[in-house]
């Protein structure tokens, strides 16, 4: 990164009208090898990502495995320290907070994980799992805590009398409801949903998606919704960002993205989804090859090695991520003029 760019990040003034702002975020994981375990390179999991989330909206992040969407989410919660870049929550620089300040901020942001089987401790009852956050943050205890947990179970559509049951006594969909109840316990403003329905059966997915939408309306929640299933992301999101090899390649409103995709990767991703309509005839864009290794991403535009439109410039220069109008951002040399 050049000096000018670094100064730009330092001088950046956080926006006042957004809940979360992510600015030029990078996470490079060192890769070690050889007999002395010296550093032989970096996995550039997240490599310069900027976006914001407005209060009360749902921002979807899509992309294939290894594109950096989960790492981005974890850095917003500061479960992962960034290599570079900033995250602002309500205007506060998250990475400059000390332990105590961070602890207070954590009440505002929660996460729901993908796998409802491994994200709940099998030795704890539902009451302990959901009430744990209330205990840690000293919100309530005894009867009051129990009452609050029962209230939360009721809100997510579980029987409040099941408070002393263990996770294995619930089905996958019910466990995901427990995960949602746990995330809601401290009345957060932001919930990061990391693939919350991809481990669930089709008929159960719709239960959880509807629940998330109801809760958003009721508690004015803001979601960062991370998923690889584009149909699900379109359904739940107001705006959607598409990631490829650690970078955002396109970001705009959900309707705009699906009616007018600009980036060739977005186009290919959308044409690859099998649609549940056997009578639909359409042209498929089949991408050749696999996603390149994030340890050694292609030069210039990361996508140029698989892009059907690639030209000489794409291999030489990284395209800027710019607004083509109506807050439709795209990072492509060929599709910047709309």
């Amino acid at each position: 990164m050049g000096m000018a760019e670094q100064e730009a990040i330092q001088d950046h003034k956080p926006r006042g009208d957004v809940l979360v702002e992510v600015n030029a975020l990078r996470k490079w994981f060192p890769v070690t090898g050889g007999i002395f375990s010296h550093r032989i390179g970096h996995v550039k999991a997240v490599d310069g990502v900027s976006f914001y989330i407005k209060p009360g909206e749902t921002l979807g992040l899509v992309g294939e495995s290894g594109c950096g969407k989960t790492t981005t989410g974890r850095m917003i919660l500061r479960l992962e320290e960034p290599t570079e870049g900033k995250v602002y929550f309500e205007g506060h620089d998250v990475f400059s907070l000390d332990r105590e300040e961070m602890r207070r901020l954590r009440r505002q942001m929660q996460i729901v994980f993908q796998d409802p089987y491994s994200s709940l401790n099998p030795r704890m009852t539902v009451g302990v799992i959901v009430g744990e956050a209330l205990e840690i943050h000293g919100v309530s205890k005894g009867k009051a805590r129990e009452k609050r947990v029962q209230e939360l179970l009721d809100v997510v559509g579980l029987n409040p009398n099941h408070i002393s049951r263990y996770p294995h006594e619930f089905s996958g969909g019910q466990r995901q409801r427990i995960g949602v109840a746990r995330a809601l316990a401290l009345n957060p403003k932001l919930i990061i949903c990391d693939e919350p329905v991809s481990a669930l059966d089709v008929s159960i997915q719709s239960h959880i998606l509807n629940l998330l939408e109801d809760l958003q309306a009721e508690f004015n929640l803001t979601y960062l919704f991370i998923a690889h299933n584009l149909s699900v992301v379109k359904h739940i999101s107001d705006r959607v960002g598409v990631m490829y090899l650690g970078q955002l390649v396109e970001l705009c409103s959900s309707d705009e993205l699906f009616s007018n995709p600009l980036h060739p990767y977005t186009e290919a991703l959308m044409s690859a989804i099998p649609l549940p309509d056997p009578e639909l005839k359409r042209e498929r864009i089949i991408l050749e090859g696999d996603v390149p290794s994030p340890m050694n991403p292609p030069s210039g535009c990361h996508f140029h090695t698989r892009c059907r439109l690639a030209q000489t410039i794409c291999g030489e220069e990284a395209p800027p991520f710019i607004d083509t109008g109506h807050e439709h951002f795209v990072g492509c040399h060929l599709r910047k003029a709309n």
Binding site: Q174, V202, P274, D290
Partner: protein, 329 residues
């Protein structure tokens, strides 16, 4: 279309400490030569056990086929000896699984694993088998196959591994390929590559495919005919266009309505209330009854049978005309 495989009232039960799990409980359908049959259903509906029953590969004990029959080219599979079954597996019927990493042996090279199958089933020498393995990898679209046969599974990406699995499965020209969630573990652009590949190879080799998946999009794209399973039973069978235009069984209808669609306006998703029943303790009458919006008294008392209502459509439901046999007859 001549029938390649026919299941007649197949019952595969598992005898566990908690009770008898009727994983497959009276399943009948057939697969024609060169046809792609889709089998849809959610986890625990018995679709994988049905496929494993055809190969007699389910864990036994506790599993046991307690009733019905499976015919392959008109002959009962259940009466075959273990040696005859070995000839059938791989040679005539091949299977690929969801997670290619767990179905490939990590300590042998890809070439060794494909060549082994060819040696065993076609009696070729090691050298000839390895040459054939290279051909198979080329057929499934793996670049530089001469080099790849010397690589181990962990050196390949998920999509490449699934291609190796398909190459191995097709190496003996099977008449039936059973694919159990072949693309579920893959990314969507890689899934598109694998589905394209399966379509292309099916056209070239003329085999039948039994495609098991919970993804209705994949079914719509690949299958000609579809069997919908619920709690160990077939609840509906139809050609793919009719099923997606007008599903008859309330469960099929609910499934199709509950998925978010790219080409439909937003709104609340349809929800099938409740959960899949416990297989040890199934509800009386229709197994879908407790979750069904159209349930009637009859449904709670007597289990409906799968009834042919004409036009290649079969449905097992008292309400949707099917179940009342006497009225249809």
């Amino acid at each position: 279309m001549k029938r390649l495989v026919e299941l007649k009232d197949l019952k595969t039960h598992f005898f566990t400490d908690e009770g008898v799990v009727k994983a497959v409980d009276g399943v009948s359908f057939h697969i024609g030569r060169g046809e792609t049959l889709g089998v849809v259903g959610e986890s625990g509906c018995g679709k994988s056990v049905t496929a494993l029953s055809i190969l007699r590969l389910f864990p036994s004990p506790p599993g046991k086929i307690v009733g019905g029959d499976i015919l392959f080219e008109g002959k009962s599979i259940l009466r075959k000896t273990e040696a005859e079954m070995r000839d059938l597996r791989g040679d005539h019927i091949a299977m690929i699984f969801q997670e290619p990493m767990t179905s490939l042996n990590p300590v042998f090279t890809c070439g060794d694993q494909i060549a082994e199958a060819i040696e065993v089933h076609q009696g070729l020498s090691r050298k000839e088998a390895l040459e054939k393995a290279v051909d198979m990898l080329r057929l499934v679209g793996i670049p530089l196959p001469e080099r790849r046969i010397h690589e181990y599974p962990h050196q390949l990406s998920g999509g490449m591994r699934q291609r190796v699995m398909i190459g191995m499965a097709l190496s003996c020209n099977p008449k039936l390929l059973m694919a159990d969630e072949p693309t579920t573990a893959l990314d969507v652009t890689i899934q598109a590559q694998i589905l394209e590949l399966m379509k292309k190879l099916k056209g070239e080799l003329g085999m039948a495919i039994m495609l098991i998946t919970h993804d209705l999009g994949v079914i719509a794209e690949m299958a000609q005919r579809v069997v919908v399973m619920y709690a160990g039973k077939v609840v509906e069978e139809a050609d793919v266009v009719s099923l997606f235009r007008k599903p008859l069984h309330p469960y099929s209808e609910g499934l199709l309505n509950s998925i978010p669609r790219l080409n439909r306006p937003k709104g609340r998703l349809h929800v099938i209330p409740g959960y899949v029943p416990n297989p040890v303790n199934l509800p009386p009458g229709c197994r879908f009854g407790p979750r069904c919006a159209y349930v009637e008294d009859m449904c709670r008392e007597k289990e409906p049978e799968l009834v042919d209502i004409g036009g290649g459509r079969l449905v097992s439901c008292w309400v949707r005309a099917g179940g009342r046999r006497e009225e249809v007859a």
